[in-house]
Amino acid sequence: MRLHNLNRGFFHWLAVIAITLACISIEGEWKWLSEYPNAFIAPFSDWLNVIMDWTVNNCGSFFMGISWLLEWPIWAVQKVLNWLPWSVSVFLFSAVAYAASGWRLAIFTLSATIYMVVIGYWEESMNSLSLVAISVPLAILIGFVIGVWGFYSDRAERVIMPSLDLFQTVPAFAYLLPILLLFGFGTVVGLIASVLYSFPPMVRNTIIGLRSVAPEVIESGLMSGATPSQLFWQVRVPSCRRQILLGVNQATMASLSMVIIASIIGGTSDIGWEVLTTIRKAQFGESLLVGMVIALMAMIIDRITFGLAQRSGIYDPNQQGLFERYRLLLIAALGGAVLFVLAQIFSVLVDWPREMVWSPGRAMNDGLAYLIINYHAQIDAVKTFAFFYVMLPIKIGLQGAVSPFTWGFALTPYHKAIYTLAMAGFSLWLGLRGKNMAGVLVMLFAVFIYFGLTNIPWPCVILIYGVIGWKVGGRNLGLGTMLGFGFMAVTGNWAEAMLSIYLCGIAAIISFIFGTSVGIWAAHNDRVSAFVRPINDTMQTMPLFVILIPFVMVFKIGEFTGLLAIIAYAFVPAIRYAEHGLRNLPETVIEAANMMGATKNQLLWRVKIPLALPVMMLGLNQTIMYAIAMLVIAALVGTNGLEQIVYIGLSDGNFGIGIIAGLGMAIIAIIADRTTQAWSRTRREQLGLDASL
């Protein structure tokens, strides 16, 4: 090795690897290395349960009062939406869509709402909508107020930001139960859960928006003689209207996805509940059809709020008459009234008759059954291949995964020697070429793959992740990472945490590689880009549950299904960021490389990708976040990690274990987030690219 290239970081890593190998070799002697001793598990969850019981017993009536207050508006909206004949509502929704964005959206809205009627889920759809109709304004209001507070007070912001991280990363299943215990059974639980989950993006966008207003715009407002309140409402807020409306949009999407998750506790006849019951009854065709309702609802609301964000007033020197101004409103009111009268005559326009309900659900089930019976072998082959050659080696390592039953041969000392020599040789070769860090990575990877994530002694895992955090983001991140992992060990969730990391990790890596490749392709080919974009948009507005359904249909319950569902959801940001990063490189650098005579390949690998890598890393960051979000839902198809404990906590009514496991997931998410962010930031600074992205 070139000795002058060796820095202290390199020796730190060698030491870490040596310690890991040493720990593995003496694992047999010291049992506590392989398994965190039970005696040292702190019963946090029991303490939390005691606190919860006390709160419910002593402050219960207070929360019940809030619950009662919130029940009213939902009830009222629900009554109105159910009272209106479907024909009137469909017309009005389409009119709103037209006003927001034009004919195309109006037609889309019309077809989508009629779909809800025809498949016979109109009432359930309206029940879900009424919950959203209350939760979204509430979340927006709370988010806006907190955002403004955070904007004006630095001290408030320092408290708000980390709390937002927690609200967005602690899985919803974990806080459904405490809400249920405090606020009682009913729609209010869904409301509160969805508000809690959907206000953070509003806060973030409000703060970012208010910050982004150019100082000269503020000054020109002041020089125009704006009072403080005029300055806020007529200068600051409208100047960042787009950003704030983006927050509204994100809050709406989050709220919709939460409405489904919240219905897992039942008690309401809404869409979420229908999705769940049909899944439980293995009526996958029906569940997909119903799930589509939520997806369509999400798309419509998304496009409408987006359309409103783009709209702007037109000045007409010839003052418009009253009729012109309110033309659309008049037409909508008139049309609604006419349809209402018609509905009194033709009852079809009020209640869609049961015999006219058209549902291909049964046919879909039959088709699926046919598919599964006839392609049984192929489906199983895919499953087995992935399980034996990808999932098992990472989970329990080559030493456990390779056996005559799985790989067709047993691991002999001969194989082991070859593996060790090959890996050592490879990393030595990298080291000789001056790429010390790459060599270290190969060594770490070799150890991981051989022994498996779940078999590496827990102190070593804490050490490795801690050192990664330290190297990437400085001492605080390193310490934080160690404490976070320590929390998992101390609360007795170590094994499950590793399973979560394992599943999420594979999914994130596959999604990242797959998504980035597609993104690179899309960045160089406009047609691919145009093709991929609507798919991305749809996947992102699709509620998590619905994504799960097709995979359960084909591959049944199990870890592999969970993995596929996570990948399906998490590859989207990887595509987006890769394309964005590559398409927004400084033009001069590309030109310079072309002038030096770089070939297409050289340009891509030597210039574009290294420069776009920081942005791609943000894509990895988002991929991991998405993967963790989906992992929670994947608990429903029987995965074994922390997410399963959260789910069990909810179904057993054990507040403590649910919230502790939920916190564990939040910790994993936050550590992954901070590490990738820190890496991307330092790299951008080194490259002199815009660090504010």
Partner: protein, 360 residues
Amino acid sequence: MKTSVEDRKEIKLSCRNVWKVYGARPEGFFENGNGLVKDVSSHAEKLRENDHIVANADVTFDVHAGEIFVIMGLSGSGKSTIVRCLSRLVEPTAGEIILDGEDLLKKSDAELIDIRRHKMGMVFQSFGLMPHLNVIDNVAFPLKLQGKAENECYQQAKRVIELVELQGRENNYPKELSGGQQQRVGIARSLAVEPDIWFLDEPFSALDPLIRKQMQDEFLSIQLKLQKSIVFITHDFHEALRLADRMAIMRDGAIVQIGRPVDLILNPVDDYIREFTLDVPWETILTAADIAEPSDEPLAGLGSVSEDTLIEKLLYYLGDNDRGVIVHAKDGSVLGVATARGVVKALSAGSGPDTSSVKV
């Protein structure tokens, strides 16, 4: 030298010993609050030694009614800060700002808002347009803030839009306009309230050179119509020369020299100012009056010119006539004689007394 016409005019805005200091506790260095200190440079030094940033040090000048007063300085010289002190966008640390005989710094927030609504207009370097409003709403914005009737706002807005020749663009949004057009909107907006005093903070610096020249011409013609009292900030010495009735040059937060552009060219107080004047096309700035000298010799047989004739126009005549040309004031009186020697002397003021290359 002639006496400046502007000196006789009333003073509109007056800036007296204004200091702006950023830091932990700048007020402590100005106990009486009026900014009067014995030795400006040593006081500024003391502030800097105590980890304070001195943005403006003892800035004093007057702006007369109807004149264009240009403040010129390189970036970091404190010119943007001083114009913000004048409008109290930045609160001065010490000193007085007197607008129409009243101390602006003593005004309450409500009074200040009222003054800004009716007396002040400001144009910004990067335009500062409201991105969410179209052209006419941007221009009508200050009027609407005053709570005027919508109709009235739009009529007034239309008038000033015509003044800056943007008619037909009323419905465009700022991002749909070119830089020059955006700044026209900024100018129209600042004029919508018919202000007495007009602040322009590097209004043309973000524009292309050609557009800049064109905007300067239009600015001058607008000023010819409106006769506002103007404080114009720029970092471009040539722009200052083109526009200024009087100008001040700033360095390190303090004013180095104040005067008519010609005074600065002919009598730079130090090398810093002289540096700027070096590449000035002096023949397009100096007039016959600037080089006219009293003459003892008989004036018979000499040609005559009016005092504001540019030297550029005299060069050929002076080349042929050693004795020079008679310079008349506007009232017909004789100011003196302009000679080729006078031209050479004025020119040499820019380069200083350097005779090293001459063998005697």
